[in-house]
Symmetry: C2
Subunit: 131 residues, 2 copies
């Protein structure tokens, strides 16, 4: 794959390396960057309209300022009872805190998350300083 297939970056344009998902691996965390993941299960039946509606509402959180690398995913491990996941990254703690306090996030948690989620676990990964 030659350089000629990669367009130049322009402001607001998703870099090539993020769009060519089939060959690109996850970038490592570094500095103050935080990867926030939540695994969860819903009251709704699998494949139901209610499930789809919840996941669509969840996807709207990607529009909150500071949210990067946002993904709604499927949890496939047989070793836990979660069935869905959401993953996002923040440049630093301040960006994470601003997301947490954002009215759209607070509203989603109160109106959708609390009534529709059965169980969940939050995991926040940050770079480890090697010994």
């Amino acid at each position: 794959m030659g350089a000629s297939t990669r367009p130049a970056l322009r402001p607001g344009v998703t870099p090539w390396c993020e769009r060519t998902t089939s060959v690109v691996r996850m970038a490592a965390l570094s500095g103050p960057r935080i990867r926030h993941s939540v695994a969860f299960a819903l009251h709704h039946a699998e494949g139901s309209e209610e499930e789809a509606g919840f996941l669509d509402a969840l996807r709207a959180l990607a529009n909150i300022p500071g949210v990067e690398a946002f993904e709604v995913v499927t949890e496939i491990s047989p070793k836990n009872n979660y069935r869905h996941g959401v993953s996002m990254e923040f440049a630093d703690r301040a960006a994470y805190d601003a997301y947490d306090a954002h009215p759209d996030h607070r509203s989603f948690v109160a109106q959708r998350w609390v009534p529709e989620v059965v169980d969940f676990l939050e995991i926040d990964f940050a770079a480890t300083t090697q010994h």
Copy 2:
């Protein structure tokens, strides 16, 4: 940042977008790709030599064939009791299964993981087919 700062890809060379970690966001999952994350806590004291030795042994799992985007990280959420994490990606289920069955992985689990880990949770994320 112009295209001129990005070298052409050559076989075996890590793409630019993976090396410039300070500005690169995690690439989204797609197709059969799986992101395997484990959050865990150790019996060892924080900052101890025993902890460092365990994490070094854990990092050696990155050498097992099929393991991609391997990271040992710190778990920083106050909402759970895990203190460390490890994250890796596999191209597909076959690569994941091969890793799981690899003698180096099995040996690490038996000799280090079982005796030294207090508690852990495995989460496997895969791309969601949107409704």
